[in-house]
Symmetry: C2
Subunit: 481 residues, 2 copies
């Protein structure tokens, strides 16, 4: 036999074994059928996979991983495939994609412990609905919540719009079940709010983007529902005023402050000019702030909101403002915020940052990033949208489609913009990845910005837990140096 034939034979044998482990209907091989699993959400990356496996429970995941481990075959865990960094798309080694989409059972909601235990393949919307049915709240909220899965949000430590109040996905993860790269199951499905019995192993897998194991289940925190909502849209002079308002709201609204979202006039124009949204306030000039308060039913948030805004106007912090009079008006404001990505795509090509800086440095970051981007190309439409209360600013260098098409070296321009913006964030004590993860698009930035001891330790952990390098290889920390 030639080497190629031997390789082909071993692949055929492996496929037979995979089908034997999972049974009929759980393995997709047809290239047309698996096309969607091999391409990322933004259609920037594509690579073939050996097959897509859809195990039905944790035991099947474990059996499959044990088999692949025995064969030394690479594997890629995949949830809702909504990564913005190509983190869930195959590399060039023909991995087996382990889809969690059939791990979709809600295991238990505990209204006393305020916890939900669920399979990793449940969508975030499914968790939100299960909590709401018990008068409770699943706090993580993000644009892709209808399709992204619990396991994926844990693997990427997803953020979103409610981090200000409820923290990141990590902060809301109490228990975890993980299939290790050799197929052993790490059962840490404890629904406990405090546990100091040894190293907290689950933390390793949160934010590891599937490079250390496959998350198959989790116990997440819930909160009392907050049916009382107060919401406003404010036009302001700039980011410095946003910070002053943040302090005012914190002082008077305390922990009912739930969202505090900033955008510049360009971002609002992108949405209003390319959609059917009503303008939330009359003018567009300056900057815009969307603030949400939420609390349990007994709270009078209208009075609170009016009182805070009176002080804000008196202090000269607000140019114009509007308070949502009902839930529909509040939803209209949220719809503008959630249309950002889609609207920007209509306007042109976005080079989007996922930077965070200490909150106090936000105005300086935005000013310096704007200057730096304009120096790369004066035709950039500087578009800013961000979770300003977390210091997480998406600074977007937007090129109109015709301008972008006319650029002689698009890749060079993209790299120049990214490095310029991220250099400033890092210089201000920030990060180049606040909530999107690293995936494949940002491994170069890991090399650029992380210290030697950090990179060394990350690589040592990868070798310790996945010595054969089988799990989502080369993502997050990149190829070993």
């Amino acid at each position: 036999m030639t080497s190629a034939t031997r390789h082909e034979t071993s692949r055929t044998l492996l496929m037979d074994k995979i089908r034997a482990v999972l049974g009929p209907g759980a393995v997709l091989e047809n290239p047309a059928e698996i096309q969607g699993y091999c391409t990322d959400a933004r259609r920037k990356f594509h690579a073939p996979a050996l097959c897509v496996c859809k195990p039905r429970d944790t035991a099947e995941v474990a059996a499959l991983v044990k088999l692949l481990h025995a064969h030394g075959w690479p594997m890629l865990p995949q949830g809702g495939n909504t990564s913005l960094c190509g983190g869930a798309t195959p590399d060039d080694r023909l991995p087996v994609i382990v889809s969690t989409e059939r791990l979709n059972k809600l295991r238990a909601v505990d209204p006393f412990g305020l916890t939900v235990a669920a399979d990793a393949g449940c969508t975030i919307a499914q968790l939100q609905a299960a909590a709401a049915a018990e008068g409770l709240l699943y706090p993580v909220s993000l644009g892709s919540e209808g399709s992204c899965q619990l396991g994926g949000t844990i693997a990427t430590n997803a953020g979103g719009t409610a981090v200000l109040r409820y923290g990141t996905t990590r902060a809301n993860t109490l228990g975890l079940e993980v299939v290790l790269p050799d197929g052993r199951v790490l059962d840490m499905m404890r629904a406990l709010h405090k546990d100091t019995a040894g190293y907290d192993l689950k933390q390793l897998f949160i934010g590891a983007e599937g490079t250390l194991g496959i998350v198959t289940g989790a116990v997440m925190r819930l909160y009392p529902a907050t049916p009382a909502i107060g919401m406003c849209w404010l036009r302001i002079a700039g980011p410095a005023e946003a910070l002053e308002l943040l302090q005012l709201f914190r002082r008077h609204a305390g922990r009912s402050l739930t969202a505090f979202e900033l955008m510049n006039a360009q971002q609002l124009a992108n949405v209003l000019d390319h959609g059917s949204h009503a303008a939330p306030v009359e003018g567009r000039e300056g900057w815009h702030l969307m603030v949400e308060l939420a609390d349990t039913a007994s709270a009078d948030l209208d009075t609170l909101m009016v009182g805070i805004l009176e002080q804000a106007f008196e202090a000269g912090l607000v140019l114009d403002g509007s308070i949502a009079q009902n839930l529909t008006q509040a939803e209209t404001m949220w719809a503008i915020r959630h249309s950002v990505t889609e609207s920007n795509a209509r306007v042109g090509v976005s080079i989007t940052s996922d930077t965070a800086v200490p909150v106090a440095r936000v105005p300086e970051f935005i000013a310096r990033a704007t200057d730096a981007a304009m120096q790369v190309h004066p035709g950039i439409l500087v578009t800013v949208v961000g979770h300003v209360g977390d210091g997480n600013i998406h600074f977007i260098a937007l090129f109109a489609h015709d301008l972008w098409a006319a650029l002689p070296d698009r890749q060079a321009v993209e790299t120049q913009v990214r490095n310029a913006v991220n250099d400033i964030a890092i210089a201000l004590g920030g990060t180049f990845s606040a909530e999107h993860g690293v995936g494949q698009t940002m491994t170069g930035l890991m090399e650029r910005y992380k210290t030697g001891p950090e990179l060394d330790l990350m690589r040592a952990l990868k070798r310790c837990i996945d010595p054969d390098g089988l799990m989502n290889r080369d993502r997050v920390i990149g190829p070993a140096a």
Copy 2:
């Protein structure tokens, strides 16, 4: 030279080098001087140390650790030495104690980012005061807060009475600076609320009890101050009523619910009979609940508290109750809660558990643990105090001093009680260590209750980060099997 002489010579050489690294006055060797560092807070454990080193900054810690690493000499990081599990007391290998007490600088308070950066040797009281000076709150609160240090609370992921609202120390740690066992410094002092740039390495060191490195600094979360306080003491029939009241308070007080502490009549009697505290309500029978609400200044918590208690009385959940009318009365209630350990020591000898179970299982846990303890010895005074909103119950088997002295085999009785109580917690999905850590007293329980894959991975991490086993050896995971 004999082997003993060679050993003596190498020790003398090492001591010379240590003194050269740290300079005069930073190294204590006199057995009388280092006695307090070699004995634990409860005076149960004592072992000698080579010396106690008091570096002044991170660079000195790094230089010292590098030296000890080069000599293969064991070391023990020590903060305020308040461990309840012997976690900060030397083993029998004559380690160098690395005290963080002179690392006591507050580095920066950021009122916009709501963060404080501080050296590991700052006390929790120091952090609380620094936050209060800016109108802010450092949320971690525990009995030893006047002497325990930030680094120690991070190393043990300390809990306390405010976890219900603000989470554990882990949840409040944003940035970390760690000296690794080979003396390299891991600088992760980022004051960011969101960061998904690679593995979150700081999580490894939180709760590792100094077995993986020495925490030298941290960035912690702060919150808006909550000067508005509402507090009540309720006498109730039992733990099941406590859970119903928990739900009532959550529904109506939302996130202003800050403390929810349960104790049984025996615990209250221990305090009232051995101190000068005024009784918070008239009767003692049944169970007692202390509830604190706290919010920003504009909140009217009196009205809220009265409204909730009206519902509670109507629903028959409360036998008797009293609302604190001013701050002094509120402090009186807290004083009872904080006198628990001291009062119990007057009554007798405590075999204290640090169990947590899912909140819904608290009544069943207490009932079964009571039965099990009484079967071990019918003379036990069952004393219960706990953070019931977190499911964290300290079940205390209390032996009057004369009864304890008369026991033929005290060690056997202690082991029987511990195993009986912890077996029940584990069977209910709980933990034997909720907030005190493992230290040296609970490593046997790690073997008893943790699964093989968990223990294997913990040991693999220890080997990965501290291959020579120099850092606080044998604590947490015990000697390698």
